[in-house]
C-alpha cells in the first residue's frame, strides 16, 4: 500500500443536480449525501400527509464502486417546494432563488 502521499481520503468528485421551478431552485451535491432518506420522507409527507418513498419527487439511491456513495436526483414532478433542502441534515441539498447569475 502506498501511504506516502499523506492523503488518506480519495478525492470525491462533487456531483450536482439542479431542479428549477419558477424563481426557486434546489441543487443537490451527492458527495455530501449520507443516505438518510429524510428528504424522500419529507417530500412525500408534505404532499400527502403520509409516507411513501415511491411517491417522493426526490430520490436517493445507493451506488456501487463509485467515488460518492449515493446519487441524488429529482423527478419531473418536483415543484421545488424546498422542503427536502430545509430538512437535509448533511447540507447535500441547497435551496435558493434564481438570479441572473444562477
Amino acid at each position: 500500500m502506498d501511504f506516502q502521499s499523506g492523503r488518506l481520503f480519495s478525492q470525491v468528485q462533487t456531483m450536482t443536480t439542479r431542479v428549477t421551478k419558477g424563481n426557486r431552485y434546489i441543487e443537490s451535491d451527492s458527495s455530501k449525501c449520507a443516505g438518510c432518506i429524510t428528504c424522500m420522507l419529507r417530500c412525500s409527507f408534505r404532499s400527502g400527509d403520509k409516507f411513501s418513498l415511491s411517491a417522493s419527487s426526490i430520490r436517493v439511491e445507493r451506488l456501487v464502486g463509485r467515488p460518492h456513495e449515493f446519487d441524488v436526483s429529482f423527478k419531473e414532478d418536483c415543484d421545488a417546494c424546498l422542503i427536502c433542502a430545509r430538512y437535509c441534515p448533511y447540507g447535500a441539498l441547497t435551496a435558493s432563488k434564481v438570479t441572473d447569475e444562477a
Binding site: 438518510c36 409516507f51 411517491a55 441534515p89
Partner: protein
C-alpha cells in the same frame, strides 16, 4: 388494519417449497405488543419449538419492524430479529440500522418470517406483492459486502441482508450486516441463513405508503426533537468523526488479554496516538447514515491502495488495535498506516461475517494463550505458530470463517473450541457466559447495569438496554445525574424514592427499569445508541406513538408493554432450557486483573465498594424480584 404507522401485514416465506403468503397483522396483537421485538417474541413463541435444532428447516428467522419505521422520526431506522441460535441454543435478539425496515414497510410488510430450507442457494427478493426466490449459486462464495454490491446492481433501489463465508460454512459465531453497515445476528443468524441455503434477503423500495393518525402533531413533535439535535454541542464534531468522536474517551489504559488475567498496556504516549488516529479517521471517513439519522455514525473509509471499506462505527479502541500488544500488534508504521491496518482487519472480519465483539477477539486470545502456555502446539494448529501479531490475527480470521484447518476448531465459538482441544483447555475458559464473552471487563469499569444484562440474557442484551442512559455505562456518576436519567426513562417518583438511597442505588432493580425504557426502542424501531437516544424520554416516545397510531397511550402503559416484551424473552429462553443458574458470574471477575503497575479488582458502580460473588448474585436476585413484582 386501520392503525397508523403499520404496513398491516406479515409475510411468511417457506424456502422448502418456495411459497409465500401474506397475512394481515392482527390489531389486537398490535394493541397489546405494539411491534418490533415484542411481536417478534410472540411469533417465536408460537412458531419455533424450544427444543428445535437451530439448523433444521423448522427454525424460523423472524424479522420485525416497529410503528416508527417508515416515518421521519430521527433515528427510526432499526430492524429487529430473533431466531434459535446455533451457538448456545438460545433465542437471541439483535437489531441494526440501514434502510431495511423502511423498505420492508414500503413493500407492505411489518414482519417477515422465513422457514424451511432450499435445496440450492437462493436469495429472497421482496418487491411489493412480488415475492420470489432467485438462484444464488453465482454469488454463493462471495463475501457479504461483495454480495451486497452485486445484488444492489441487480435490484437497486433496495436494502440487503446478505451472509458472508462464515454464514455459508455454518459458523456459530457468524453475524451479518444490513446495507454494509449495522451488525445484526450475534449468535449465528448468518449460519441459520446458511443452513437454509439463503444467501441474502433483498427488499426493494416498494409502492406502499404509511399513514399517520395525526400528521400535524407528528410534525410538531419531530420539529422539537430536531431542534434539540441540531443544537447539541457535540453534533458539529460528530459530523466529522462519527462514533469515534463520542467514544474516544472510553479507551482504557490497555487491553485485557491472556484469558482475562492480564491488562496489556498501550504505549505511554497513548494520548498523542489517539490524537493522530482521530485525525486519520476524520480524513478517511465519508459519512454514512441509517434511515432518518441526523448524526451519521457509520463510516465509509477510503484508504489508498485498499478497496473501499465500511464499518458500523469505528471506535477509538478499534483504531488503536495495532498499538496494543494484546492482539493484532504491529510494531511499525505511522499513525495513518496503523489506522489503515486496523481498518483492513475490521473490513476482513465484517466481509467474512464473524462476531468480533462477543466471540472472535476473545477466542483468538484464548487459543494464542494456550499456545504460549504450551498446551497446544503446531501439531494442533495445522503448523501455524500462534502469536499476537497482526498477520496471525488475519490468518485466524480467514481460517475460522472458512472452517478450514485450525479454523474448524474455532468456528463454533470458544466453548466448542475448548472441547475440541481437550481437557486442559476446557478448564481455562474465562469471562464467558452462555457461550459468549463479556465485553468490557467490569474490573476495569466497575460493575455496570450492562454487565448484569450480559449475565442474564443469552445472545447479549438489546444494546445496552439495562443502562439508564450514558451515566450508567460510565461509572461513578453523581446520584443526582442518575436520578435525572431515571426520570427521563420514565421511572416513577415512588420508584425513584424506593430504588435510590442517600448515597447509593439498587443496581439490580434499576436495571429492570432501564431495560423497560430501552426495550421500547426495539419495539418501536428506534435507534438506542446513546448519541440519538439521549434526545428521547419515555414521554416523548409515548407522544410520538400516539401521534402516529392514534392510540393514546400513557407513558406507563408503554413501559408496561416493554416489560411484557422482556418477560416473553425470558420465557423464550427459559423454555429453551436456561435458568437462573446460568447467570453465574465468571470466576475470573473475583481475581485481580494485573497490569505492570496496577491490579484491578471488581468494584461497584461508585468504584468505592469491592464486590464479591455474593454481591453479584444479590444484584441478580433483586433484578428478577423487581421484574416479577411488576408483572
Amino acid at each position: 388494519m386501520k392503525l397508523g404507522g403499520y404496513a398491516g401485514n406479515i409475510l411468511y416465506v417457506n424456502l422448502s417449497d418456495g411459497t409465500s403468503r401474506k397475512q394481515p397483522l392482527d390489531e389486537d396483537l398490535v394493541r397489546e405488543c405494539i411491534g418490533g421485538a415484542a411481536i417478534n417474541n410472540r411469533l417465536a413463541l408460537d412458531l419455533i419449538r424450544p427444543d428445535i435444532d437451530p439448523f433444521s428447516p423448522g427454525n424460523a428467522i423472524i424479522i420485525g419492524t416497529g410503528p416508527f419505521n417508515g416515518t421521519f422520526i430521527p433515528g427510526a431506522s432499526q430492524t429487529m430479529s430473533v431466531y434459535k441460535s446455533p451457538l448456545n441454543n438460545s433465542f437471541p435478539h439483535s437489531n441494526a440500522g440501514g434502510v431495511f425496515s423502511h423498505f420492508l414497510k414500503s413493500s407492505g410488510y411489518d414482519f417477515l418470517v422465513i422457514t424451511g430450507r432450499s435445496q440450492w442457494p437462493v436469495y429472497l427478493l421482496i418487491d411489493d406483492d412480488n415475492v420470489s426466490l432467485k438462484h444464488a449459486s453465482d454469488i454463493w462464495g462471495m463475501d457479504g459486502f461483495d454480495s451486497t454490491d452485486e445484488l444492489r446492481l441487480r435490484h437497486s433501489p433496495c436494502s440487503i441482508i446478505p451472509i458472508g463465508i462464515a454464514g455459508e460454512r455454518l459458523s456459530s459465531i457468524s453475524v451479518t450486516h444490513i446495507d454494509k453497515g449495522g451488525t445484526i445476528g450475534s449468535g449465528g443468524l448468518a449460519a441459520v441463513m446458511g443452513s437454509k441455503k439463503l444467501k441474502a434477503i433483498v427488499v426493494c423500495m416498494g409502492s406502499r405508503s404509511i399513514e399517520v393518525a395525526d400528521p400535524k402533531r407528528l410534525r410538531s413533535l419531530v420539529d422539537g426533537i430536531l431542534e434539540k439535535i441540531t443544537g447539541y454541542h457535540l453534533r458539529g464534531e460528530m459530523m466529522k468523526g462519527g462514533a469515534m468522536t463520542m467514544t474516544s474517551a472510553w479507551i482504557p489504559p490497555g487491553v485485557v488479554a491472556r484469558n482475562s488475567s492480564e491488562l496489556m498496556p498501550y504505549p505511554a504516549d497513548l494520548k498523542e496516538i489517539k490524537a493522530e488516529l482521530y485525525e486519520s479517521h476524520k480524513a478517511a471517513r465519508k459519512k454514512i447514515a441509517c434511515a432518518t439519522c441526523p448524526l451519521s455514525d457509520k463510516d465509509r473509509l477510503d484508504l489508498p491502495g485498499c478497496r473501499t471499506n465500511y464499518d458500523t462505527a469505528v471506535f477509538m479502541e478499534m483504531a488503536a488495535l495495532t498499538y496494543s500488544p494484546a492482539l493484532g500488534h504491529s510494531s511499525e508504521g505511522t499513525a495513518a498506516e496503523r489506522y489503515a491496518m486496523a481498518i483492513k482487519y475490521y473490513d476482513e472480519i465484517n466481509r467474512l461475517g464473524l462476531d468480533r465483539v462477543y466471540s472472535f477477539n476473545g477466542l483468538a486470545d484464548f487459543v494464542i494463550t494456550l499456545y504460549e502456555q504450551g498446551i497446544i502446539n503446531k501439531s494442533d494448529t495445522n503448523g501455524i505458530a500462534l502469536d499476537r501479531s497482526y498477520d496471525t490475527l488475519l490468518a485466524l480470521v480467514r481460517m475460522t470463517a472458512a472452517r478450514e484447518g485450525f479454523g474448524a476448531v474455532l468456528c463454533d465459538g470458544v466453548l466448542s473450541a475448548a472441547r475440541k482441544i481437550g481437557n486442559l483447555a476446557a478448564g481455562r475458559v474465562q469471562n464467558v457466559v452462555k457461550g459468549q464473552f463479556i465485553a468490557f471487563d467490569p474490573r476495569m469499569s466497575g460493575f455496570l447495569p450492562m454487565h448484569l444484562g450480559m449475565l442474564v440474557h443469552p445472545g447479549r442484551t438489546l444494546g445496552v438496554a439495562p443502562a439508564m442512559g450514558a451515566p450508567s455505562y460510565s461509572p461513578g456518576w453523581p446520584l443526582a445525574d442518575l436520578k435525572k436519567q431515571a426520570e427521563r426513562c420514565g421511572v416513577s417518583p415512588p420508584d425513584i424514592n424506593r430504588l435510590f438511597s442517600n448515597d447509593s442505588f439498587n443496581l439490580g432493580r434499576l436495571a429492570k427499569h432501564g431495560e423497560d425504557f430501552f426495550g421500547l426502542f426495539n419495539i418501536l424501531g428506534q435507534c438506542h445508541r446513546l448519541y440519538i437516544s439521549r434526545f428521547y424520554s419515555l414521554q416523548t416516545l409515548a407522544d410520538l406513538y400516539s401521534a402516529i397510531t392514534g392510540i393514546e397511550k400513557k407513558p406507563a402503559e408503554l413501559k408496561k408493554a416493554s416489560s411484557y416484551m422482556w418477560d416473553t424473552w425470558l420465557e423464550l429462553n427459559h423454555r429453551a432450557g436456561f435458568t437462573h443458574r446460568d447467570d453465574e458470574p465468571p470466576n475470573i471477575w473475583f481475581k485481580p486483573l494485573k497490569s505492570p503497575d496496577h491490579e484491578y479488582t471488581l468494584y461497584d458502580y461508585s468504584l468505592k465498594r469491592p464486590l464479591s460473588r455474593g454481591d453479584i448474585l444479590d444484584y441478580l436476585d433483586e433484578y428478577y424480584s423487581e421484574r416479577e413484582s411488576q408483572e
